[in-house]
Amino acid sequence: MTDASIAGAAPEPKKSSLLVQDARTRKRNAAEARFRMYGLGAVCTGILALVLLLASILSNGLSSFQQTYITLEVALPADKLDKNGNRDRAEMAKVSTFGYQPLIAAAMEQKMTARGISVEGLSAKDAAGLVSKEAPAQLRNFVLANPDVLDTTRTFEFLASGRVDGYYKGRVSMETAQLDKNISPEQLQLADILLEEGTLETRFNWRFFTAPDASGQRPEAAGLGVAILGSFYMMLVVLCLALPIGVATSIYLEEFAPKNRITDLIEVNISNLAAVPSIVFGILGLAIFINFAGLPQSAPIVGGLVLTLMTLPTIIISTRASLKSVPPSIRDAALGVGASKMQSVFHHVLPLAAPGILTGTIIGLAQALGETAPLLLIGMVAFVREYPAAPPEGFFDPASALPVQIYNWTQRSDPAFVERASGAIIVLLAFLLVMNAIAILLRRKFERRW
């Protein structure tokens, strides 16, 4: 009886050769081949986009790591810089950068006559135009810092003006100089002569990492110093706040909290917070930290607090995920030998989850590092030339941040800032890359088998 029913249920096996593909198999194989092509196409598109992005940024930005300098011997006459002759800094400070400008022109002229350089139709003043407008300020700062150098002749290395710098980076040519009121072809000829002679040279631009921002007239002087420091302070605030708060929250929710409607609600809200647009956090920061709590604008502490709020959900979610991934058998084992709940979490679960937590935190930090929108709203977009002080006071000083600095530079008219912005993007990407690499390394190092 049973035999009969079984025989009735299963169809008779069809005789067919394994060497011949039937229509159905052919169709399935074709579908699979098509799907592979789609996938490959998608990957290629992604790689192409990435290559294009990197190529454009690198081609625009790499040159910002080079800078053209002009070396001049400048005489520092005391009668012009310290009219009273008593070396009083307060009085010397009354001489503005306009008082220093002629010294550079004189130095340039002296150099040209000494070396017998002359370019047709080029005045001494024009020749001094090769030097950056930042140079008098540099000279003045030096003299004010060392009053004894008066009445001596010192060798200075000045930044070349943005146009001359651009000439050696291919941004400016003789043709464009013709139309440019900031530079003339004659000046460029002089620059070429100076280059041959060794007065003018192009080399690695450390100032780009250390100098503060500069006005729109002197792109050659603009650097990322304040922005890097500001970003660093903010990351410090984020790390010190988000990590403990986030980890404590996750441990409580994951290990201790009873599973009921309230915790469900909290959970849903945390997930939703992670999806809230970052600019909303900026508005929140503006309303609470600046308008209500009265913290200073443009300060890293406010930026850090806002970014902490933004990063918390990311850290909580990744921490909970890594806590969940710790096998329950480890908790059982700890409880089984008589450990309390807290001992089992802190002795066993947390160490095992640590690599995951660290990775999540670093990714969260990287995200915060690249965040622009909320910082614009709390005034970090301001033009800041002063370095913030050392922490903790420094947290309350105005500062800039890397992504905001990039945003700022892209707004400026001088094309030299396009190069600066791209350079800053490269710096930012390098920081992100380093952080991700650290995350991967940490995970590799601490990941354990169980």
Partner: protein, 264 residues
């Protein structure tokens, strides 16, 4: 010689654990129905039965591991040496130091072999000095028949051992807190036959000092290691008695059907 074997088989008739009218509910599911059982001292007691019959659940009641599950509810009395372990005054952490547990999957902590064994004594403050602790670790590893294999690699991670060695490490860890009762939840289900035999041999030796309760899917294992066997079916304790008698001449027809492979 033969007489020795038979006296050896005779068990101490001291009650270690007495369960009276134990009921366990998981939410609305009545998982254990009115179980009465006396577990003897210095005896291996095996719980057998089909999957989902409640044997593991009952085992976890004995050291209150069910406390960690929110929806589990235990009624009735379980007395350890005459004291109700579900009394409000009992701290489960203290209870679990007395009633150790070994789990189905070997679950050593991802720490060194030494730290695995030393963990329990450390948190219970059983050792005053490092020398004390060393002694406890050595004694426990010896008792778990792991000392010879592990003594030269105490600082290496416990997770680097083979499956059978890991399970013996877990037993050493459980033994290190000097429990009075050792609960084992299918301790050999993840092990190969040789490792299983070694663990079984170990269980037989542990009987000298502890009351061992073992849940097992393998009837053969129950037959091999235990002196008393309890057969659970659908949350009920069907039959409880001397192992040889259960396996050669069970009283309840359900037990016979199960051990002969007719229900399961």
């Amino acid at each position: 010689m033969n007489d020795m074997r038979f006296t050896e088989r005779a068990v101490v008739e001291d009650k270690k654990i007495a369960a009276k009218g134990v009921q366990v509910y998981y939410g609305s599911n009545h998982a254990i129905k009115d179980v009465n059982v006396d577990i003897l001292d210095k005896t291996v007691t095996a719980f057998i039965g089909p999957s989902g019959c409640g044997k593991s659940t009952f085992l976890r009641c004995i050291n209150r591991m069910n406390d960690t599950i929110d929806i589990a509810r235990v009624e009735g009395d379980i007395l350890l040496d005459g004291e109700d372990i579900y009394d409000a005054k009992v701290d489960p952490v203290q209870l679990r130091a007395k009633v150790g547990m070994v789990f189905q999957k070997p679950n050593p902590f991802p720490k060194s072999i030494y730290d695995n064994v030393a963990y329990g004594p450390r948190i219970h403050g059983l050792a005053r000095t490092k020398a004390d602790l060393d002694e406890i670790v050595e004694k426990s590893l010896r008792r778990a028949a792991l000392w010879d294999e592990a003594k030269d690699r105490l600082e290496q991670p416990g997770t680097g051992l083979s499956g059978g060695q890991q399970q013996r490490l877990c037993i050493a860890r459980a033994v290190a807190t000097s429990p009075e009762v050792l609960l084992m939840d299918e301790p050999c289900s993840a092990l190969d036959p040789i490792a299983t035999a070694q663990v079984e041999e170990l269980i037989d030796e542990l009987r000298e000092r502890f009351s061992v309760v073992i849940v097992t899917h393998s009837m053969q294992q129950a037959a091999r290691v235990s002196q008393r066997t309890a057969f659970f079916h659908l949350g009920e304790l069907v039959e409880y008695g001397e192992t040889g008698q259960i396996f050669t001449n069970p009283e309840d027809p359900r037990t016979e059907s199960y051990i002969t492979g007719r229900i399961g």
